[in-house]
Symmetry: C2
Subunit: 350 residues, 2 copies
DNA sequence: GACCGTCACTGAACCGGTAAAGTCCCTATT
DNA sequence: AATAGGGACTTTACCGGTTCAGTGACGGTC
């Protein structure tokens, strides 16, 4: 069974069939003025009959327009699958891209240098019209690379991390502060935070905010540990925190993502501690996962899908000229109390 | 602050700088014979100095080669984020694409008709050299569309679902059978299965296999329910199954993915049932999630990353001519016992 | 020393669109 | 009646690569 020799319909065939020139077909398909209704219809009819769709390479070659944007993600595959964040984020991005018939070029990279190189080829090779940048580090090589290239981007991260790049961010500092205040208001004094990878800029921001909040509230027992965002690391951190004795053991733990909170929950169970009676747990991001545990997880909740959509919208603004007012925050995560947080001490008899 | 007028380095500039013709540069960059070592070096040097990268549109326009493959996913965004499966799968695909400097065009679609249309534009517009098809339904419109187009694809799904398309699949029937046998061997007779969306072909396959296995083992108490793969649906199903009384209540439940198993676990806890003493739970896919619960989840485990990689490899084979031996299974998921399965009845005193 | 074969490289014709300038015709204006 | 203006198309350059039929030089052969 051989493939038929592939008809290869081009704009010329459509033009011939409609009895017009290539130019006319181009006008029609780009809904530009200068054609009569009748001709337009004939052209579309011809195109439909021949099953023609414009060759995107040819189109972007001559129009120097590109109908794709890039997203490179730099995290170990092992962690990516688990983080509900990314897929939700991508689906938000998609929702905006689709309505502008734009595609998403996705690539997983191993390190930021590789990513910078990728951005270079993407841009110089005219494969993308712009790109979304996530997971900023201290000393991130990307802002410089992007600046040098003139590549339109939207950075996902606080301006203090993304330099002069147009950026969209969540106000993590405020969110952390709210989380700590909430737990403190419940009566907790020994609050711990299981943070994400220290290399990430947003981790540092949260870490600093946590310290600050603890100081402001005079919480002597505040502690933080860094992880790699994986469930295993979250479990390990939790185990280490909870195995402290008596007055050293935290009564509440804030996690930097859902997965670690879930892991923490089962570590608590495994150690015979009741949640929230003996220890309160607070998750971050609030994917569906938080409602699937027992007890359900209180979380700092935000609309990740909407976040992605907003980022994509901003990217389009940046691409089509006006960088004006590019940078802006999206709504701060809000505290969503569920079953895993409560006043401390009810379980002191243990 | 204005963008500099964008230098726009082209192959001509490189050629001029190296003192050769465009053709020579092309030869060099496609590592084709016909150039002296010295010239080659001069060309590369010139390219590096000018920071040139070939324009991919121009390249694929004239060479009719495309350096991207498509993947359209048709599931509600809400579920996608949660399914560790997809990100892991994508990362596997990526790992193979990257080494051939090929990109992944990702698109989330709302229904299969939209996807079929997308494949049409992707292919006719020469945006992709091939595509990966997932989540087959009964009466799936895609095989016909793909056949008509002559689009190179690899279908992820059992040949009985994917028609004559080259396909890669996991042997779900065997895996289900193994799962049931395992539980039966532990002594369970009342085994339930919380399946995925009935529309999916692989769900039907598993459903049939479960029935068959139950019949073969003469398990009178076997039951199945369909869900939409979401954690909530999994929780609901579990609640309904476990609220049956006495001899109607299953002593073991198999889930079609991780998320539902996690949800099931907390429903059991919520209902005061101990796992595995009162009820055994068996998850599917075995992402890291299964090791983060308490008790840990026994699961049918497979290498999703490797699956993705294998699919990508097969797609390349299909694209580069030989469909020969395209279709093949990947290793069948293997049973990985953990803490959520045990012989029944130890908890009958409840 | 004429002839042949290679090797290294050039030149020009594409690939399939877009865009800007040009053509033609028809109507309104002076 | 001559002219301007505008709508409806057509023509014709590109866009930035790839490909392939040359071309010239050089070495070897008889």
């Amino acid at each position: 069974m051989t493939t038929p020799p592939a008809p290869r319909v081009t704009i010329k065939d459509v033009a011939a069939r409609a009895g017009v020139s290539k130019g006319a077909v181009s006008l029609a398909f780009n809904q530009r003025p200068g054609l009569s209704e009748a001709t337009r219809d004939r052209i579309f009819a011809a195109a439909r009959e021949l099953g023609w769709a414009p060759n995107s390479s040819a189109r972007s070659l001559s129009s120097r327009r590109v109908d794709a944007v890039g997203l490179a993600i730099c995290r170990p595959a092992r962690l990516l699958g688990l983080e509900p964040f990314y897929m939700e984020f991508v689906s938000g991005v998609e929702s905006v891209l689709t309505e502008r018939s734009c595609s998403l070029l996705l690539r997983l990279v191993r390190n930021l240098e590789e990513e910078a190189g990728l951005l270079d080829t993407w841009w110089k090779g005219k494969q993308v019209g712009g790109s979304i940048l996530v997971d900023f580090h201290a000393d991130d090589p990307r802002p410089a690379a992007v600046e040098r290239l003139g590549l339109p981007v939207v950075a996902v991260g606080h301006p203090s991390l993304t330099g002069s790049l147009p950026s969209v961010w969540t106000d993590d500092a405020t969110a952390v502060t709210e989380a700590v205040r909430y737990l403190a208001a419940l009566g907790h004094r020994r609050i711990a935070r299981v943070g994400g990878a220290a290399a990430f800029g947003h981790t540092s921001i949260r870490t600093a905010a946590f310290d600050e909040a603890a100081r402001a509230l005079e919480l002597a027992g505040a502690r933080q540990v860094a992880t790699d965002f994986s469930g295993e690391a979250g479990a390990r951190a939790t185990r280490s925190l909870l195995s402290a004795t008596g007055a050293d053991r935290p009564t509440a733990i804030v996690y930097d993502n859902d997965i670690m909170a879930v892991a923490g929950l089962s570590v608590a169970a495994e150690m015979g501690l009741r949640v929230p009676a003996d220890v309160s747990l607070l998750a971050w991001d609030d994917s569906q996962l938080c409602r699937l545990t027992h007890p359900t997880l209180s979380a700092m909740s935000h609309d990740v899908h909407g976040f992605g959509a907003e980022v994509a919208r901003t990217l389009f603004e940046v691409i089509t000229g006006g960088e004006g007012g590019g940078s802006h925050p999206v709504p701060t995560p809000v505290l969503t109390p569920r079953g895993s947080t409560a006043p401390p001490g009810r379980g002191n008899h243990m």
